[in-house]
Assembly symmetry: C2
Homo-oligomer: 417 residues x 2
């Protein structure tokens, strides 16, 4: 069977997916309305780090262009802004890495076409659906924009929120000193929100993404509306004052004289309603469209899971397509079953982290600050959100995790005593 | 963690499950209202064959008491009662075996208690629920009778029927000659129903289960209501006349003089509404009940999947229990995800076989009569209903299967030419 797969959207899901298909000799055509130059010139798209599990996929695709030794980081540094600040760090077993997607995506689009993938640059209207369905054996939808993205219904059971739980203000900044060892800082201002500080490669070199996740109604919320372009000085002063009060550990690494957005367009403000959607729709004539990435599951960015899950989900789909001869409902069901545990794990864990913490979760945070193995496993599990969720899904699970780690440490101490 | 699992019901699911737990040192208590002697003395329970995949589980549990060399069979013989009869046979790669459950279950109950399992013989009332939940870490429900069985809601999406699709009349008979090679005969009287003839070990030795699956409103339906005890002679005469007309290939192996029920109680009549149910319910205090076997998925017996699926599903649950430390919603979800493909595959395939056949299915039957590899794979897949369903789920899948098998045979002929 000669397969020809149509891909709507050239995000990380569409590109990793398309590259995987090409690696297996499957014909793949991406349709997108933005060419590489346009993407490079856009406002900040997001601030994404790829964990090693995603970097391994890049290696297998031959698109691992930015080595971790140069651009990566090895740790998560946790800070809780309490009267008695709580700090601990967890280590990954292999490094993660952040690259500005306005650099990343155009480069992978080149890789894709160099390997025989086709990209058609054009907008899709509602009247294109039937024509596209006729051209391809399967349509893979990797963008929520346009008529395909609208076709996938939310799954209520897995979509507990109707509005954003955080007011986001994320920018790429100069004048932030790196941590030692290099890492992401996850700073929590209890009741007010989180700041995720990610070392990242962008157009001017190494900068820092400051992803401010502000609780609606709290002291930090206004950052999601404060306009930089109207008054850059006021923006900086307001931001610095709030960082000093709510995220002092990050503030301490800022050089006020050099601190600024990398460029005025490197700021993104808004919010996300975490949503899981049905993943397949029938287009008529036996043809189906199947969702990957944000169209399938859009997450709050606080735990950095969205892009990693999109890449994972695209790989599962690609592997199944390579094996399959028929693209029907059962095919889609099989793909969903294979990717569901990780996709839902990421969504549920992330939703837990933007909800008021339970006593057990607070107990875990305390335990991680006293037990390196716990902190390391929590960090490592950013690669495996289904494992993280298996640790966190219910109070007995959290208590079991703490008890197990405590017993292990006790045994280790006895063994070396 | 010391785990103690409560099991409601001593069918094949409950027993295979309990034996697996004991093998791993997990405490297991079965609660049932029927002791081994009572089971041995009951009316016919069902007519079940274990495929080799289930026999492998028996071997791993050390309860493989009835060797296939003595009691097993190797083939499925298909006969279609058409003006020009269509006949073909498929071979298993390893033998199947049928043993009367009134012999099988009591023997495994002995095995279970010999290995430290406990059996409590008593009926359960609605007011026992809370007390039982408090005694065990998890309640596994393997019988639809009693208050636990009523708690699991049907899943509409997977339960397309509201009434039985076949009027069943199944008995254990003497006077039926075995096929050569030994096998199950699947005789189809188009529009009227199926007869499944299974060689089986029962109390008097080797007998034949004749499972008549009669289309409601058809010429065979009355067999599901015809009373043996009122007039055995009339019952026999009516049955023989209908076999002669509708299932002549089986009729030809009957010795009229010796043909009779093994014993008057060896007859079962009625019908099944194929139903898939939700698999877990909360009992309060964080305790859960989870379903296995018929409570989870009850199938029409035509494809002989019910008991094999029950054993499979019990093993998946048992393996997960051995690994788990916490029995919560996520635990049940994980179990369900692991067993879903096979459980749904068996249900959907079986439902297809008791629905009017599509043109493509008729085409497949024709192709199997001409292509041994196709017939063998169809037979082998009785062990792997998820593979069978992956072959049958949509018209393009059936056509692909036929085309693939035809091409393979063509290539083989060329190679030997």
């Amino acid at each position: 069977m000669i397969k020809h797969i149509g891909i709507i959207g050239a995000g990380v899901a569409g590109l990793h997916f398309g590259l995987l298909l090409r690696q297996h000799g499957v014909a793949a055509t991406i349709i997108t309305d933005r060419n590489p130059d346009e993407i490079a010139g856009m406002r900040l798209l997001n601030t994404v780090a790829h964990h090693y599990i995603t970097l391994d996929r890049e290696r297998s695709l031959g698109v691992y262009h930015w080595p971790v030794e140069e651009y990566g980081y090895s740790h998560h540094h946790h800070v809780f802004n309490l009267p008695q600040p709580l700090k601990f760090s967890g280590a990954f077993t292999a490094m993660s890495r952040g690259v500005d997607y306005r650099i990343y995506l155009p480069r992978l689009m080149d890789d894709f076409t160099a390997r025989g993938g086709k990209i058609e640059y054009r907008a899709i209207g509602a009247d294109d659906l039937a024509k596209l369905a006729a051209r391809f054996d399967l349509i893979v939808v990797g963008t929520g924009r346009g008529p395909f993205g609208q076709m996938f219904e939310p799954v209520e059971e897995h979509s507990p929120f109707t509005r954003p739980q955080r007011a986001l203000c994320v920018g790429l900044y100069t004048g932030v000193r790196a941590t030692d060892p290099p890492g992401v800082t996850i700073s929590v201002s209890p009741g007010q929100g989180e700041l995720i500080d990610i070392p990242m490669l962008s157009f001017t070199g190494k900068v820092h993404a400051l992803l401010m996740e502000n609780v609606p109604g709290g002291e930090l919320e206004e950052l999601a509306r404060l306009r930089y372009d109207d008054d850059p000085k006021k923006f900086r002063a307001t931001l610095l004052a709030k960082l000093e009060k709510h995220h002092p550990a990050v503030y301490a690494r800022i050089d006020g004289a050099r601190f600024d957005l990398q460029r005025p367009q490197d700021l993104l403000q808004g919010g996300v309603v975490p949503t899981v959607r049905r993943t397949s729709v029938e287009l008529g004539d036996g043809k189906l469209a199947i969702a990957v990435g944000d169209v399938h599951s859009v997450l709050d960015p606080v735990m950095g899971q969205g892009a990693n899950i999109a890449s994972y989900s695209a790989f599962v789909l690609g592997e199944e397509i390579v094996k399959a001869h028929v693209f029907d409902r059962l095919f889609c069901e099989r793909v969903d079953r294979r990717r569901e545990e990780r996709v839902l794990g990421a969504q549920r864990w992330t939703n837990m982290m933007i909800s008021p913490p339970s006593e057990d979760l607070l107990g875990l945070i305390g335990a991680m600050s006293q037990n390196q193995a716990l902190a390391d496993e929590f960090t490592e599990n950013f690669n495996y959100p289904e494992r993280q969720w298996a640790r966190l899904a219910s109070p007995p699970r959290i208590r079991h995790w703490i008890a197990e780690a405590t017993a292990r440490r006790g045994a280790a101490q006895l063994a070396t005593a």
